[in-house]
């Protein structure tokens, strides 16, 4: 027993040290405020090969012209973990000035942390953002206080990629496949799997990561609803006929085993296990030489014409972090990196679509030289991203849990789930 008492005492002593540390920790830091300064800054860009080469070239060009305001560029990992890295860096006070890979779903959390500087702090902050992307697009990226904590940078509008060889083998038209209505899509899917050519018609990840919604339910819902986000005016939108149609469509896909209920270990489309995939334009350079592919817009119940279809933007944004001292340089660099020339360089090196007005016309020569990107460029004009709400990730996670239970595993009717989920989503974002 004596030992237990010593233990308690030790814990009490440690608690004091912790509180002291925390107290001094809180009083340190600060900075910013007042007039924005110029000087050397640090930025992060995504670390896939194409974006690295774009990032390096842009930094080099800037540095040559601004010897007194040197920019140091470093890579951060793309994918699922980069948001966590940024969250941690904000808390530790060592975030860079700019991150060229922000996820809109993470921005509300970073704002809550006090980690971001509103672009409105700069005289031309709001006007530049709105002029570049268009006021209506930019408005989607505004936070609840009406300020821009992110510059909408680039999008990867998702479409259906299909394997022409598999379609041909299944007796389907490889050049103009009938995939626009749900019944057409299901017919094609059944033919593809029945012919034995494809193990699965399509293989979205049936995993419970919150962001997987964006590559199965959400793009189809955006299309079916004519461009609605999951939440509008702080209310869930999807407990309606469009939501029901999308949920039932996917439920049928899973009930008929046209898609795997297990995660596929690898890339099912690249490995030719699945005949279709829901992807953005980045996929062109990835699958380009491996798969004989074609692309069509996502399906809708009635088969809307391609020029009517909205889809998920899968966009990335750029934010300016409060740890940054030389904010004027950061803002100037942000404008430099998203200028028409550098956006053009981004398009040509990465194939991703800068979130600019009139994309197909500004870079007309590029698109005529690379017709495979044109379809995505046209689609980029009609996209919806994740709603900018508080607790967005919680909302998507709750939505995902229910989706898997109801749609993938069929243990709850889609109508019941959608109704319950609308309530959960409402209370999640209200918290």
């Amino acid at each position: 027993m004596a030992n237990k008492r010593t233990f308690t005492a030790a814990v009490a002593a440690l608690a004091c040290t912790a509180l002291l540390t925390a107290a001094t920790g809180c009083s340190s830091g600060g900075g910013g405020g007042g007039k924005a300064k110029s000087g050397p800054i640090k930025i992060w860009y995504s670390n896939n090969a194409q974006e690295v080469s774009w990032g390096k070239a842009t930094v080099a060009a800037w540095n040559q012209a601004h010897p007194d305001q040197q920019v140091t560029g470093e890579e951060i990992p793309a994918g699922t973990s980069s948001e966590e890295v940024i969250t941690a860096a904000i808390a530790a006070g060592n975030a860079p000035c700019l991150v060229f890979n922000g996820s809109p779903s993470a921005v509300s959390g970073w704002v809550k942390q006090g980690g971001l500087v509103p672009l409105n702090d700069f005289a031309d902050g709001a006007s530049y953002t709105e002029a570049r992307s268009g006021a209506s697009v930019a408005a989607e990226y505004k936070s609840s206080d009406g300020k821009y904590y992110q510059l909408p940078w680039k999008s990867n509008p998702v479409m259906i990629f299909y394997n022409k060889d598999m379609f041909k083998a299944a007796g389907l038209d490889p050049d103009h496949p009938a995939l626009s209505t749900y019944s057409d899509f299901l017919d094609a899917a059944q033919k593809l799997t029945a012919s034995g050519g494809a193990q699965y018609a399509i293989a979205p990840a049936p995993t419970n990561e919150f962001f997987q919604n964006w590559f199965d339910f959400y793009p189809l819902y955006i299309a079916e609803s004519g461009g609605k986000a999951l939440v509008e005016n702080n209310k869930a939108t999807f407990d309606d006929a469009a939501g029901k149609a999308v949920a039932d469509f996917w439920a049928q896909i899973y009930a008929k085993n046209l898609a795997p209920k297990e995660k596929y270990n690898g890339d099912a489309f690249a490995d030719k296990k699945a005949a279709m995939a829901i992807v953005g334009p980045w996929a062109i350079s990835v699958y380009g030489s491996k798969v004989n592919w074609g692309a069509v817009p996502v399906p809708t119940s009635t088969g809307m014409s391609a020029d009517q279809i909205h889809t998920f933007a899968d966009s990335k944004t750029v934010s300016l972090f409060s740890a940054c001292k030389n904010r004027q340089t950061a803002w100037d660099y942000l404008k430099f990196a998203t200028s028409q020339d550098n956006d053009g360089a981004l398009l040509t090196t990465t194939g991703q679509m800068p979130l600019r007005t009139d994309l197909p016309t500004v870079y007309a020569s590029y698109f005529s030289a690379h017709p495979e990107y044109t379809l995505f460029a046209q689609q980029a004009a009609r996209t919806v991203d994740v709603p900018n709400v508080a607790n967005g990730v919680t909302m998507w996670q709750d939505f995902r849990n229910g989706y898997l239970k109801s749609v993938v595993f069929g243990q709850q009717s889609t109508a019941d789930w959608l109704h319950a989920a609308a309530g959960t989503v409402g209370s999640d974002i209200a918290k």
Binding site: T17, L19, K112, Q113, A205, N208, N265
Partner: protein
Amino acid sequence: MSRAPRGGPRSKTLIGLYLVAPYAAYLVIVYAVPVIQGVRISMLDYVYAAPGADVPQPFIGLKNYRSALSDPQLRRSFLNILEFLAINVPLTVVLGLTLAAVLAKLTRMKTFFRSAFFVPYVTASIAVIGVWYFLFSQSGLINHVMGGWAPNPSWLVNSKLAMVVIALEVTWKQLGFYVLLYLAGVLLIPGSLYEAASIDGAGVVRQFRAITVPAVRNVTILVTTLALIVGANLFTEPYLLTNGGGPNGASMSPALLIYQNGVEQGKPGIGAAIGILLTLFVLLVAGAGRGVQWLFQRGEDRGPRRAADRGPGAASGRGRTADGGQGATA
């Protein structure tokens, strides 16, 4: 108390403090502060605030605990861990000790066999998971072999089997580590014990039960404790093998929920509360298994008292060295 009192108890106390001081300091510098911070966070509406940022973090008492406990997924995840332990711990102890005992006696291909069992433990998770996927997926090897007998739904998406597969996978992956621990323990048993037992006519199985099992009792406690801790920290397998704790949370784990809440969803308060609950859960389970006792006692109770009694007349007098216990008096 058989320890010699040389130098008196005071200097002995001092020596103990000297020896343990660097480690104690390390625990404080690296762990105590974040742990206490974790406890504090669990009672706040906490935000990972930027330095200097003015972010309110009000004290909300046990609210985080209440909302964590009201989540059916969390309750399910604790039950999942219990199910995991019920499969993993007995298998680990039985297989680990048996293999170690056998490996210790091998004369040929010693290196090969000893190394073989260690391979899964050092192999990167992604490759190991790939292998298990290859075995247990819908179109995997196991279902292929079982044909019409294959479970439906398949293993990884079957709410009754997902956790079983995970428990088997972890047992298999960790086994090499436990074999290593047992091997180090078994190798400490003097061969003379076995010789004596053998002269007295005890067979291999009896020798194993009468000498080996009691002699490595300490290792078994260590192995059980570590297996419990591995179970409590289960993360990678449900995350990667069963679609993130699926199907429908059938393989959800507390650590995965901590990650989802505390890191992904920016609710560190709830994540920290789950962490504290998980810690209490482990201590509770360990306490239930009498595992905590040894922590606070030195050596008084550690040896199997009657190793020699149970042995087939084994090694009267010689038996004491096997376990270091006081069962047999010198």
